[in-house]
Subunit: 374 residues, 2 copies
């Protein structure tokens, strides 16, 4: 096995693939990166129990393939070598029985191979169930839903984002049973009927790989896995088995009153109001509509003290004295998912869920359950 590759090309692809390297794998072989050198292509693959990532690099001016071969190298050290070298090109060549020589300018690294027979076989084959989204849209789906999934593995289906589609609508929903995030698109999409739950951790890794550019991502749905193809990268994740709760009935459609805020003012006020909230359990703040021009946000902690913030809303659909208590963390998570700078909170009652919408965030809403008042 022998090939020469541009450092820049190799580093980009190793960085992408290494997101699937596990630091604490059940199988030590999964700390390795597999490199398959074929006549005109190099495949670089890493995998852990959740996701597998493969980069395809074609022979080109920047990639010269002289001899085929296949081997697994320790991922962490391979990545460090390529990061730290300042040579434009790097040569990989088999050396003795069980090692690879990596030549980079005045540096020579002799890296022991791992046992390639132990590396699992991973199929990145395409399926018939295909949706094509552009990268910007896919990133929006992830950004606006993934954070609202549950951390607790006691209800496994809630640790993932539900993607469902019928005809020309694709909808993503996440909930941890205290809050809910929903985003859908209906235009410019052809979709088979699908209903899957994708682990939110996988989506967060995928989101790091996909850039904010106009580039298509092909998504292939299988029975237990889903494959994303973006540029030269194939990203495979397992699906979560089970039935996602039907959440559409939870979303109110009639409101008592709707209050519109400047997003940045609202975020700053909530952040300050929750300064004395320590830990997860006690992060409750109280929002009170005092007048047409004044909303007050309060919190209190018997040990530390009290906070009070005044904020002038942009508009109120219908003035009424109204008070509601909720988690500042859930609220901030939800508000930060919007791109609009004008947000509207639609209240349905002092102990009923409320929803947030954004002026320019179409087909997207966040729902939050109130907490018992403090």
């Amino acid at each position: 096995m022998k090939f020469t590759i541009s450092r820049e090309v190799l580093l980009y692809n190793l960085n992408q693939v290494s997101r699937a390297l596990s630091t604490k794998p059940q199988m030590p072989i999964l700390t390795g990166i597999k490199i398959d050198v074929r006549s005109h292509i190099i495949l670089i693959t890493a995998s852990n129990s959740e996701i597998s990532i493969q980069a395809k690099i074609n022979a080109s001016q920047q990639v010269l393939i002289e001899e085929e071969g296949s081997y697994v190298l320790p991922g962490k050290y391979l990545l460090e070598i390529v990061r730290k070298t300042d040579s434009d090109n790097i040569v990989f060549v088999s050396f003795e029985e069980n090692s690879v020589k990596i030549l980079a300018g005045k540096s020579t690294f002799t890296l022991n191979m791992m046992e390639k027979e132990l590396f699992p076989y991973i199929s990145f084959d395409e399926t018939d169930q295909k949706i094509t989204l552009d990268a910007l849209n896919l990133k929006q789906f992830i950004k606006k839903t993934s954070f609202a999934t549950s951390d607790s593995e006691s209800k496994m289906v809630l640790t993932g984002v539900s993607f469902t589609s019928t005809e020309s609508k694709l909808e993503a929903t996440a909930t941890d049973s205290f809050r809910l995030a929903k985003k859908f698109i209906t235009e410019n999409i052809e979709t088979p009927n699908i209903s899957v739950i994708i682990p939110s951790k996988s989506l967060d890794e995928l989101n790091k790989i996909i850039e904010e550019i106009e580039e298509n991502v092909d998504i292939f749905f299988g029975k237990t896995k889903v494959l994303f193809k973006y540029m030269n990268i194939s990203f495979l994740t397992r699906l979560i088995e089970g039935t996602f709760p039907n959440t559409n009935s939870l979303i109110p459609t009639e409101y008592l009153t709707s209050v519109t805020f400047n997003k940045n003012e609202l975020v700053s006020a909530i952040e300050r109001a929750s300064l004395f909230n320590t830990g997860d359990a006690s992060n409750v703040i109280k929002l009170t509509i005092k007048s047409e021009n004044l909303v007050e946000i309060n919190s209190s902690n018997s040990e530390i003290g009290r906070t009070s913030e005044e904020i002038t809303p942009i508009s109120i659909s219908k003035f009424m004295t109204f008070q509601i208590a909720f988690s500042s963390k859930w609220f901030l998570d939800a508000v930060r998912a919007f791109d609009s700078n004008k947000l509207t909170i639609h209240f349905t009652g002092e102990i009923k869920p409320f929803i947030i919408t954004g002026e320019y965030d179409i087909n997207h809403l966040q729902l939050i359950l109130p907490t018992r008042a403090i």
Copy 2:
């Protein structure tokens, strides 16, 4: 108690003083910041078992004092409030029996006081034993020595930097018994006879407070403490008791050969050569003078593999075949302490200590003990 202060002035001083806040204090009161409001001055003080820091803020256009008083507030929350508010000015006023109202624009914080009687009395009084250094010089002393102190508390004196002075020479020495760093100045200084050991952690905190500007720092030496006065900040640290070893006899004055390198090339080569060194114990690299124009740096790890770096020295005083093994971590620490881009390593033997000097780093040397060859 009532005063109004510019947010900017308060934030700067709270950031400085809060370096003495302990997150895990033996005494809960030391999580607090003491604020003394007097007729024309505000004192802000924090303290832990090692260091105490006090900022003096005079009444001015930016600081309006209306009523005197003294209280201790929880440091973490006070700092967070001032950080998060966007109001230009902040008003502090006593409220009810045991709290302080903090008014900042549309925000109101009511912060419970801590028991001020529990806050220890700290004397920031000046002593007769005084040295004045400029900030740039003092930062150099810290940067070039502090890292070489010992982490282990088994030899307590080695966890500090020894400062000694006689007549017009001030010298700082640090050693963990495997390496040694020394820096002194002889010019433009009048100094009493002193011999103290200052904890390296205290020096590192002091270094964060002092900026790289031409500003004097007055240093007052006491029997158990040393006080640094910089701008409006007083920084007090305890001294380490005990006798620092006499290290002058360890430093060789005759060399077998001296090799001069470009610092950046040397750092990159050592970093790459030590890529397979994992953990502290095994970070040994081997340096070999191969010819007048070639120095090789190697390391090896039976599990991962081997590295080899070639580097062309700028000059060699006397060519001889020579090989030495040492810790890459100690070497990198030492080399990074230099400001010069041309460094010379002076070798005295394959199993004898070597020293490093820099073209423009006058009165400064680093010494490293070799390790048994690998």
